[in-house]
Every structure is written in C-alpha cells, then in structure tokens.
Symmetry: C2
C-alpha cells in the first residue's frame, strides 16, 4: 500500500507519518509526505519515504502529485480557524478550493479509486446545542473555517457516492495535550494548563474551570486516522463523515487529573486570568457528543484525562514529570 | 426597492415576477429579470421592468449585473437534479460555482448589503429519515444537486454572518400542481396525476398510492419568496436556511382531493403503470417535515390538497375544470 500524506508537516500529520513508519505491521510499502514546507522524514522508517513541497491551491501541482496514484490519500492540509477568519480569500482558497483540487485531480483518472481520509473538525457545529449533541444533529458552523470544512465534507460524500473515491471524513475533537510551545489558538489553554505545569512552567487559564469541552489526545488522533485508512466503509453508506469519540471534561476535571499526575505544586502553576474574548468564543463551542456512530465503526478515544496526561508524559516527556 | 430575479424564466421565477409586477403594494420600484434565455416581462407591470440574458457561470457578466446594486436579489437559477446527476461538471459549474459568482460579486462592493433570497431544496436531505424530520436534522444529500444546494446554503450562512449580505435560504417543497406539459422529472407524476385529469387528459401513476411526499403549490412558493424578501432575518441568527412548511400527503390523498374537485371520471383518467426506477428513487425522498422554525418565521403553506387543486384551477385554468 502506497500512501500520500498532504499536510504532513503539521502536528497530527507528522505523528501519523512516524506511527506508520515505525510499525512493521502497518502494511505501508511506501510513503510520500508533502506540505507547504517540506516535512521531515521520520527516523528509521521501515519503508521508502519521499518528501516534498505541495501548495494545494496550485491545481497543476496537485494533479502531478496525484498522478502517482497512491492507494491512500490523507488530506490534513488546512489553514487554522483564526487565519481563515482573518483572511477570507485565503481561507476559501486553501481549505475549500485546495480540497476541491485534490478531489478533482483524483476524478481526472479513470480506474483510480483511492481511499481518501479527510480531516474535518467539530467546528462544523455551531451553538446553540443540545447536550449531548446527537450524531444526526445539523451542521451550522459559526466560522468560515467550519463552513469550509462542511463544504469539503459535502463534496467528499458526493464524490464517494459517485464512485470517484472511497472517502472518510473525520471530525476531530480538540487535540489535548497538544505538544510544543503555547500558540495563539483560542483553544490553546486546554493544553497549556497541563503541558506547562508538567514541566514546571506557569500557564494561564482564561476561562472558568466549569467550562466543558470535547478532547482527544494526539495519540488518539493518530489512531483515528490509521483506523480510517483500513476500515470497511460499507456501513457508512452515503454518510461519509463522522463525529469522532472524545472525552467530555470540564477544566476542573482536567486540573484534578493534573493534580493526580503531578501534585499540588503543578496545579499551583496555573494562573487564572480571565480573558473576556476567549470566554465569549468558548461559550459557542460544543461540550459533548454522542458519537455512537463512530464508536460503532470502531473509532476509540480516551475515557479519562488521566489517560490523556499519561499518554503525553510517555510520548513527549520520556516518562518524566516536573521539568529539567 | 429595486429587485433582481436571477432565474426569472423558470416557472417559479416568472410567477414571482408576475406577482410583484401586479401588486401596487409590493414596494418594488424597478425589476430586472434575467435567465439563460431572456425572460418575458409580465404584462401590465406597475413599475419599469428590464429583461436580459445572464449565464451565472460567467463571473464577469455576473459582476456587471450586480454592479447595479439591487436592494434584493432572488437567486433561483439552477439546473435540475437529473441534469446535475447526468453532467457532473455542468452541475457544479452552474449550481455551485454560479452561486459563488453571485455571492462574490456582492462581496466585491464595500457598503453594499442586499437581501439575498436563495432557493434551496428538500434534496439537501437524504434517507433514511425519522418521520417527521425535525428542523435540526442533518443534511445528507443523495444527489449532486442536493450537495450543490447544501454547499450554497453553507456559503449563504457564512457570507451573511460576515456581513457581506443578508441571506435567506429556502428549502422548497415539491411544487404541485406544476403547470405546463408533463416533464421528465422523476417527481413529475405528483403534478401529472392532477393536472392532466383536470383537463380531461390521461396521466400515468408510476408508484403505489401509499407513497407520501411533501408538497406546496406554485402560489405558496411565490408567497415564500415574497415573505423572504421583506422578513426580519434577526430571529434566524446564523442559521440562514429553513425547511419550508408544506403539506404531507399520500398519492391516495391527492387522488381523493381530485375526486372531490372533478369527480370519478377524472380519477379514472389516472393509469397505474409501475416504474421500478421511479419507485426506487421515491423511496429515498422525504415524506414529512416538522418545519416549525419556518412557521414561526411567518412562512405559510396549504393545509389540504383541496386548497392546492383550487389554487391551480383558479390560477391556471381560469376556474374551469374538465378540459375544452
């Protein structure tokens, strides 16, 4: 099986590539990793790995890349919510037209029917919501990013129904604990308040600890993508996108899990500094999904924040809590 | 108020134009009617009416048309379901890219914020369904036409949320009784079995009389569009498309209404010739909607097939049943 990962320089894409590269049982015979900046090939890959630069807004370059007819295409490339909101044209060009370029490049080949795994987002949902949100709840995004993902999902389903490819759309939960440095994403604090105290650093909590949200670890995200690569799509019928399972937890529950993992001193590193702008945005975010359909299709997430923190400590901190 | 009707040569568009032209209380000061073929101006219009040809896939021509900055734009232009399914490229080009051309032409003008009324369709829904289908049920189209309408709805909401225009999307029920000659639309029989016997002609019923579907008259459709032209969109929030009220009825109920209006002899003109292809398609169509949200917003449809038939006899047959 030859696979192409578009968006392989991102956090989830690079972890997916590393996971496949290091797994002799993955069934992957060759891997091509592309992104706006050239991705780094995983160390000690068990198969040939090619890397390259691809701008998905360049239809010609996309067509050239697809001409190699990979068996599985992971399409993870997108600009994030904040940027898509700030730059209308760029958001539609990358997140929508870029996606369409990939789908149409596949369509241009007769007798080519790859598996296409497309990362969507819970940003396709927009408040007000019931709690929990059922799998058949309507999609009413409140951002251009969510709109573009919804439009991508719609095309994914139609192209799959018409036999152009075999698509799976994954509405990822908020990924937590996100490794790396604090970033400016409005949702960043969910990760910051765990990641920073775990290495002895201060973190800011800008919202009430009663805020509830929907989380899965980077490890779970890689698991979702790998499951989508090989799953039987028959039971999906024409409904090709799923809201993935996750863990619904309040910030207070996150903090208690941090206390169990790293003690009171770690919890004391969380400074509460309310940010009204973030409070307002977070109020429109979903808190809990049923996600029974995805569970029935075999997707699995964590069931406690203790697990999520343990995965982070193992995967990112070499098992060591407390900083250097 | 200056209005532009795109798709004004179609059945609903021409009836809308005639309705506004003949109503001194409509508030319309000038009207421009365009379509792929030049529409006919309504007779005895109470305001200046311009007509023209517009191909919405021609972004430059669309921009020129929008440059006149009408206060209200009705976007009714589309190729139908069967054609969009048969011709993939044309369907996306007209129904999706054409819609985007209109929306982006509006976006190119600062300080311009028209009301945009966009006709969507219940084809955005796809089986299996609950009965009735609630307003917050998800959209899972089973045709490329339905997919293109869904993508248009998504953009309509996003462009409205961003303040580019003030959009209302209308998911029209199946229009019945559709005037004119029998056409090849798979849903045509719902109209044929009333329209033809009402003028002494035979009609074919290709499905069981237990088939249930969702209907509104052409008169109700014009009412929906006129209501959407002037309504307060504030209560819609970011959810800019609505499933319109209609009448849920079985074919048997249609036939009984025909019997009440035109007698047993008219009913005898319906020949039952099952068409397995149509039976199969119809099985995937929605049967009943709650549509409470649209009713709360002031949209009104018929409550019996007697009313629908009476409207047809009045509007299309000059009050006369039974043919020439």
């Amino acid at each position: 099986m030859r696979i192409l990962i578009i968006g392989a320089a991102g956090m989830v894409g690079s972890k997916l590539a590393a996971s496949l590269a290091g797994d002799p049982g993955s069934g992957v015979a060759a891997m091509t990793l592309v992104d706006m900046v050239e991705p780094t090939a995983p160390a000690e890959a068990g198969m040939p790995v090619a890397t390259g630069v691809l701008d998905i807004t360049d239809a010609g370059a996309v067509a050239e890349m697809i001409a190699a007819k990979p068996d599985v295409i992971f399409h993870l490339a997108a600009i994030v919510s904040g940027e898509a909101e700030a730059d209308f044209d760029k958001g539609y060009a990358v997140n929508f037209d870029g996606t369409r370029n990939i789908f149409d490049a596949i369509r241009s080949h007769a007798n080519y029917h790859p598996r296409v795994v497309f990362t969507s987002s819970i940003a396709v949902y927009g408040a007000p919501f019931p709690d929990p949100i059922p799998d058949d709840y309507f999609l009413t995004p409140l951002t251009s990013y969510g709109t573009q993902k919804l439009m991508g999902e719609a095309m994914l389903a139609d192209y799959s129904r018409r036999g152009i490819f075999d698509g799976v759309g994954l509405r990822l939960p908020t990924i937590c604990v996100r490794p790396g440095r604090p970033n400016k994403a409005a949702s960043g604090f969910f990760s910051n308040i765990l990641r920073e105290p775990l290495v002895g650093q201060e973190a800011i909590l800008p919202v009430s600890d009663q805020v509830r949200h929907w989380h899965a670890s980077p490890r779970a995200a890689v698991g979702f993508l790998r499951h989508a690569m090989g799953m039987d799509t028959g039971p999906m019928g024409a409904r090709r996108s799923v809201t993935l399972p996750g863990l619904s937890a309040t910030v207070a529950e996150q903090i208690e899990a941090l206390r169990r993992a790293a003690g009171d001193d770690a919890v004391k590193l969380i400074r509460r500094v309310e940010d009204p702008a973030i409070v307002k945005m977070v109020a429109g975010w979903p808190t809990r999904f049923e996600a029974g359909r995805a569970r029935d299709l075999g997707f699995v997430a964590e069931s406690s924040f203790d697990e999520i923190i343990a995965a982070h400590v193992e995967d990112e901190l070499g098992g060591k809590i407390g900083g250097t």
